[in-house]
């Protein structure tokens, strides 16, 4: 930054107080980001800090509600991704979207193929140009091969080649290294540095601090949709960066009342699902709330789904009160006393077009059908007290769940599982997308349930929620448990460090489907 004084060359990208809201939800409160040419700029922040929204505004996916947006010193306003591309903005996503059946060259020149005599596509020129691009990037990819079967790393290279052939002056890479092995990361960094040296500006989004410090010259921190700070990486430390990312006092927000902690109820040993999570072991005891923290995509929900039997796993064991629970069978997990409140309540938690009564009675109905027959009346009578206990707001029990607010829907899901009288409650994102009032109701309820001896495993992307509610925090990173912290040791910094803990694994490459 310092070597490019203001005024001489305008910044490639300049965002000032950019705001973007989706209905009542403000995703980006005041996004500020200034990126200079010949610079690699890191953008960091927790999940939900607004990084992706900011990138989408720059890419023309979303239109900003307010604020300044300048490209090369000129104010712009993109209505589509085509407009941003034409102005030299290229975005490379974590998982590139190529046409698998077309050749890599055809992917690069999609929609703007060079034309020869008689307006026919000049294939020879196209392949020659692709060859030239790959040579410049220092990679060996056959321009004629189909995109199908390329590793994620090579797919990203194709996207970068596309960006260069468009002569993009600004390249934004959204967590490009998440699925790459160590060698592939090095190659990507070499390419990024050479692009920087050509005078382009790069924005690099990553949760891995070692990479941020290895590659970038400047770092901007965001939190809760707001700009926090910008520093030269040479002048800051990992600890300062984490403090800026977390930056709030959380202790008293979500009070968990202390409960007597009893014997182990849920015991998970060496749970492994190849390529998803690896050797996951933990115990949840009666009366205990265990928080499962980690970044999006780290494998938190996947572990929960496998423990409950919604997904299968390759090896490992799950015990409830000492009894083994067979894998891959939700029914068996329910019989063993487990309940799973999944992360996506509209798709997984509820049959959204079925009535409140049908949803609340959804799991207990086999117990209601004692004679083998089940009537709507029995179901309604069984569902009503549970809906009432959770104060579900509805006119009648035959209204569909789709007509209710997110908070009420979540109450229906909770009612449905509490009705089964579980011993273990796994709750994935308990308060995502619900209003503040219901949120604290849910927190109070979880605390009360733990007080009555329930073993609770709580997954949450909201660090304050995890730290406030959990007796113990497990941190998962790239499918492995990297920390097991007691309440007193679970500081935001300790959790974030463990969550971004990164072991290069040379085998993790994925192919295009």
């Amino acid at each position: 930054m310092t070597e490019h004084p203001e005024g001489a060359v305008p910044p490639t990208l300049e965002l000032r107080d950019v705001r973007k809201a989706f209905g009542p939800v403000v995703a980006l409160r005041s996004g500020t980001l200034v990126v200079h040419p010949r610079s690699i700029h890191a953008l960091v922040g927790e999940n939900g800090a607004g990084k992706s929204t900011l990138v989408k505004v720059v890419a023309g996916v979303h239109r900003r509600d307010a604020g300044e947006f300048l490209l090369q010193g000129r104010s712009v306003d993109f209505g589509s991704t085509a407009e941003s591309k034409a102005q030299g903005v290229a975005v490379i996503y974590q998982e590139p979207t190529l046409f698998p059946d077309l050749s890599v060259t055809e992917n690069i020149f999609m929609g703007r193929q060079p034309l020869g005599a008689g307006r026919r596509i000049d294939r020879a020129a196209m392949y020659a140009e692709a060859e030239r691009l790959f040579a410049r990037l220092g990679v060996h990819i056959d321009p004629r091969r189909p995109a199908e079967g390329l590793s994620i790393a090579d797919q990203q290279i194709i996207e970068i080649a596309k960006a260069i052939s468009l002569d993009a002056s600004l390249l934004i890479m959204d967590e490009p290294t998440a699925a790459l092995s160590g060698i592939e990361v090095e190659r990507l960094f070499a390419v990024a540095r050479s692009l920087r040296d050509e005078g382009r500006a790069l924005v690099f989004i990553s949760h891995r601090f070692d990479e941020v410090f290895a590659l970038c010259d400047t770092v901007t921190v965001m939190r809760d949709g707001e700009y926090i700070s910008t520093h030269a990486t040479a002048e800051t430390t990992v600890d300062e960066m984490v403090a800026a990312m977390v930056g709030r006092d959380v202790a008293e927000l979500f009070p968990k009342t202390p409960a007597a902690i009893g014997a182990p109820v849920l015991e998970v040993q060496g749970l492994t699902s190849v390529g998803v999570f690896d050797d996951v072991s933990f115990t949840v005891r009666a009366g205990e709330i265990v928080g499962l923290a980690g970044l999006v995509g780290a494998g938190r929900s996947e572990v929960a789904r496998a423990v409950f039997g919604v997904d299968r796993y390759h090896s490992g064991t799950v015990h409830v009160n000492g009894t083994a629970v067979p894998g891959g069978k939700p029914r068996a997990a329910i019989r063993a006393g487990m309940a799973l409140i999944p992360e996506d309540r509209r798709k997984q938690g509820l049959v959204i077009d079925a009535s409140v009564a049908r949803n609340v009675g959804g799991v207990i109905r086999s117990a209601l059908a004692r004679t083998g027959l089940l009537t709507a009346r029995t179901e309604n009578r069984a569902a009503a007290p549970w809906a009432s206990r959770l104060e579900v707001k509805t006119n009648a029990l035959d209204m569909t769940a789709a007509t209710m607010s997110g908070g009420n829907q979540q109450k229906v899901v909770i009612a449905k599982w509490l009705a089964t009288d579980p011993k273990v409650l796994i709750i994935d994102e308990p308060t995502r997308g619900i209003d503040v009032g219901t949120k604290s109701e849910v927190h109070r309820l979880l605390s009360e349930l733990a007080g009555r001896g329930l073993a609770i495993l709580m997954i949450s992307s909201e660090l304050p929620e995890v730290l406030g509610m959990a007796d113990r925090v497990l941190v998962i990173s790239e499918g492995r448990i990297t920390a097991d912290l007691d309440r007193d040791d679970a500081t935001p910094e300790a959790v974030m460090l463990a969550a971004t803990h990164h072991q290069p694994s040379p085998t993790r490459t994925e192919a295009v489907r």
Binding site: V310, A333, Q348, I352, D353, G372, L373, E391, A396, T400
Partner: protein, 354 residues
């Protein structure tokens, strides 16, 4: 979780509305209207043989519509039913020709039907292939085997005792004997769909199979059971079909699957799954049967009958869409409890047929 003792109404609509303002009630009303019209205006419609032939004609459709309803409610389909009718007919004929008594040959035919259904069920439920593709394949496969076994010939030498049973009526009435097993099956299937946990699972799968899986519904097993039942019932319909006409042929009941599916959809079952009730379907079958019978008595050709039934089916689908469109445009009185602006479904579940 302070208990407020909130009390809920069980239903948002009064009983008469829940009974009469439904798709099923509309189909039943239309069926009764067509019957009344035919009794007055169509000559011989009130004759003694009309009811007998009408019921004999629609019996295979009535039978197969029972499992088909449950399959379509889960969001799947079985197009191979008519081919299973043909195959079971040939199995019965060939075995009987070889000297096996009808009851035993019939039993083997039922087993063959079950195996056919299990093949469909295995490919759809456990391999995870789309039912449309699988059953188009087995439609050709089973029919091919049936025609291959018997060629273009027919087996017609059945013991009279059994063909008489298939064409006989209950006592002095005009109601065919086949209505007895049908009635038993209809009761069994309606208990299964509307009064059992299995049936609740069937609706859940049709509305949201992922959520059903998360709730502990065994999605694969449910589909497997339904397709197997479809095979068995189709084979039973094949035995009846064969004995009624005293003729086992490879091409028996060709195209019957479309009549069954048309009746199921006309009866108010959503092709996308999750909605529909058995009494609507049965009345849909009767409606089609009555129209066909009345038009035949009027001397109208089969082609015209098909045109009318086709138009009726399209009209019923359009009217459903039209009603949904209307209810969206009307003031949303049903959604007072709603605070979710993104929701489009404001109908109480009971009216939606869940």
């Amino acid at each position: 979780m302070s208990t407020t003792g909130r009390v809920y109404a069980e239903y948002s609509q009064p009983l008469w509305k829940r009974l009469l303002m439904t798709r099923e009630a509309a189909v039943i009303a239309l069926t009764l209207a067509v019957i009344a019209y035919s009794l007055v205006n169509v000559q011989n419609f009130d004759g003694p043989l009309t009811l007998k032939f009408l019921l004999q004609d629609i019996a295979p459709i009535l039978l197969i519509a029972l499992p088909m309803t449950l399959i379509i409610v889960t969001g799947e389909i079985d197009l191979s039913v008519a081919s299973i009718v043909g195959l079971s007919s040939v199995v019965l004929g060939v075995l009987h020709q070889g000297g096996m008594p009808v009851p035993l040959a019939g039993l083997v035919a039922l087993v063959v039907g079950a195996v056919c259904g299990m093949l469909n069920g295995f490919l759809i439920a456990y391999v995870g292939l789309p039912s449309l593709a699988v059953t188009i394949g087995t439609l050709a496969l089973f029919r091919g085997v049936a025609v291959g076994l018997l060629g273009t010939t027919a087996v017609t030498e059945f013991t009279e005792r059994w063909t008489d049973l298939a064409t006989g009526t209950i006592g002095e009435t005009s109601i065919p004997l086949v209505m007895i097993p049908f009635a038993l099956l209809a009761v069994a299937f309606s208990l299964l769909l509307h009064f059992s946990t299995f049936g609740r699972g069937v609706y859940d799968i049709g509305l949201n199979s992922e959520a059903a899986h998360f709730t502990g519904v065994d999605v694969a097993r449910t589909k497997f059971v339904l397709l197997t039942l479809s095979g068995v019932v189709s084979a039973f319909a094949g035995i009846y079909f064969t004995l009624r006409f005293g003729s086992a042929r490879g091409d028996n009941a060709t195209g019957l699957e479309l009549q069954v599916i048309a009746a199921v959809l006309l009866g108010g079952v959503s092709i996308f799954g999750g909605r529909g009730r058995l009494h609507g379907v049965l009345s849909g079958v009767v409606l089609i049967g009555v129209i066909a019978s009345a038009l035949r008595l009027e001397g109208v050709t089969v082609n015209v009958t098909n045109i009318i039934i086709g138009l009726l089916l399209i009209a019923s689908v359009v009217s459903g869409g039209l009603l949904a469109w209307l209810s969206r445009r009307l003031p949303r009185q049903a959604s007072r409890a709603s605070t979710d602006p993104g929701s489009t479904s404001t109908r109480p579940a009971a009216r939606a047929g869940v």
